[in-house]
């Protein structure tokens, strides 16, 4: 897993990498069996153990609902964590690459997010923080089944590693279904982002390890990395073929045109149009940085838009506002 020198090629397809470690303290029952005071005690033990790490501490009870939801929209915390702050705390690094949810489903959920494909680096950061805690507090651990977690699906390494892939060309070729079956045989899960009608949104998929028991972190990461690279190669080949299709080129340019001039845009419409524009930008058709498109997608989610407005917006007002922001950004 050497640091790839063609990382820009990778980041055309791999939007981000995430590592999550689930850990629990031996001396306390798991969070579902703790009352508010006990949760607070667990949070402060862990916060003390990480005192030298320059992480920003937030008592989740002090956040408004919209502030909490906004953190979830940035993927810094889970939706469940946002929905109930009782006894819970968050530790966050200044540039938001590191977040620790305390007393979520487990006492500790360490999460690292890195841009592009960066499993090794992301794991290195998670592992280091884990060791800092491990040296001060005693974890719940069993030699047979590894790190003990509230939900048995996370036993073993407690590690869930994932990469977010943008696969417009493979989706269009209709091969994603086969791909999900293939990666499942290799111990990985590939799942799409689905709307309420079961339709895929934005051609964005998450590839993650499924099994946490019996496979070491290193082996799981190597497995994930090599399969991600193979999918990237396939996607790039499919894109090269697709770009020669005049009708598809028309679709890319039209998508860009709609984003630049629409008066109203729904969240779903934006997600789907941005997918084509992202592809066009990656293939050098437009000069738009990928980060700009990612930022737009994050900013213009319904809840975040509501938090930034003084008064609650109707759906229609939100769609108008969203289109306005997109026109501004794409100038």
């Amino acid at each position: 897993m050497n640091k790839d020198n063609n990382s820009s090629v990778m980041s055309d397809v791999v939007l981000s990498t995430r590592i999550r470690l689930a850990r629990n303290l031996k001396s306390y029952p798991f969070p579902a069996r703790l009352d508010r005071e006990e949760k607070k005690a667990v949070c402060s033990l862990i916060t003390e153990a990480l005192a030298d790490e320059k992480l920003i501490y937030t008592d989740m009870e002090t956040l408004s609902a919209s502030e909490a939801v906004s953190l979830a929209e940035k993927h810094l915390i889970s939706a469940e964590f946002a929905s109930n702050g009782t006894g819970r705390s968050l530790l966050l690094s200044e540039n938001e690459d590191v977040s620790l949810m305390l007393c979520e489903e487990d006492h500790i959920r360490i999460q690292i997010i890195e841009p592009g494909l960066s499993l090794e680096e992301a794991y290195r950061k998670a592992d280091r923080l884990d060791t800092v805690i491990e040296n001060k507090l005693t974890y719940a651990f069993d030699e047979r089944i590894g790190y003990l977690t509230q939900c048995p699906t996370d036993l073993g390494t407690g590690m869930r590693a994932s990469v977010l892939l943008h696969l417009p060309a493979l989706s269009r070729k209709g091969v994603v279904r086969n791909l999900t079956t293939t990666v499942a045989k290799l111990g990985l899960t590939l799942r799409g982002s689905y709307g309420e009608d079961g339709e895929i949104l934005g051609d964005i998929y998450q590839l993650s390890n499924q099994v946490t028991l019996g496979i070491s972190e290193k082996a799981a990461l190597q497995n994930l990395n090599s399969i991600a690279m193979q999918i990237v190669t396939q996607e790039k080949q499919a894109r090269a073929a697709l770009i020669k299709d005049e009708d598809f080129m028309d679709l890319i340019f039209r998508s860009y045109g709609i984003l630049k001039s629409a008066y109203k845009l729904t969240s779903k419409e934006l997600t789907n149009l941005i997918s084509y524009v992202r592809l066009g930008a990656a293939e050098g058709l437009f000069d738009i940085p990928a980060e700009k498109l990612s930022a737009l997608t994050t900013e213009l989610q319904p809840a975040t838009m509501n938090t930034q407005s003084q008064t609650p917006l109707t759906r229609s007002q939100r769609d108008i506002k969203r289109a306005e922001k997109v026109r501004e950004a794409l100038g």
Partner: protein, 170 residues
């Protein structure tokens, strides 16, 4: 129908998603579903709905009878609670209910032993060891019983010979 997530409110939102080509449906109340749009990708939500893990227990639970009501001294959780919620009470529960939990753990993860990082007090990193002869024989014996149960006596005989051979070599 009650919400699968909080088990308190009436489920009003039904979310279909496809994981590894298999469609699964979630039934949630409006407050739990409110943010389902961004739950999709980053949350491990779909793995952790209580119903999904409980379904792994199947008939093991019924076979246990009264012993499912024995309580963990540390957290007060009994095996019945674990079946109903799909979550375990504390580290001691894993010790107390180890044998009862093992079949469902194996249905999720396969017959595996932990491999990888280990807390410093537990010594060196664990790497998967080659199975001992005893373990291999135990596996074969289980296979043989399964073959017998399926009335596949031909296969059972082959396995029996294999076991004989392994015992002889030892």
């Amino acid at each position: 129908m009650l919400c699968q997530n909080c088990k308190k409110n009436e489920a009003t939102t039904h979310i279909k998603r496809v994981i590894n080509g298999e469609a699964t449906e979630s039934h949630l109340c409006s407050s739990c579903a409110q943010n389902s749009g961004y739950r999709d990708l980053f949350d491990d939500f779909s793995f952790n709905l209580p119903g999904i893990f409980s379904s792994f227990f199947g008939d093991t639970a019924l076979a246990l009878g009264e012993s499912r009501l024995d309580r963990c001294e540390k957290c007060g959780c009994c095996f019945d609670d674990i079946i109903k919620t799909g979550i375990v009470g504390c580290a001691d529960c894993y010790e107390k209910f180890y044998n009862k939990l093992l079949p469902s753990i194996q249905r999720i993860h396969g017959k595996a032993k932990h491999s990888g990082k280990v807390p410093p007090v537990h010594g060196e990193e664990i790497t998967v060891k080659e199975k001992t002869v005893e373990e291999k024989i135990a596996d074969l014996e289980a296979d043989m019983q399964k073959a017998v149960a399926e009335q596949n006596f031909e296969r059972a005989a082959i396995i029996r010979d294999e076991i004989k051979k392994m015992k002889g070599e030892n």
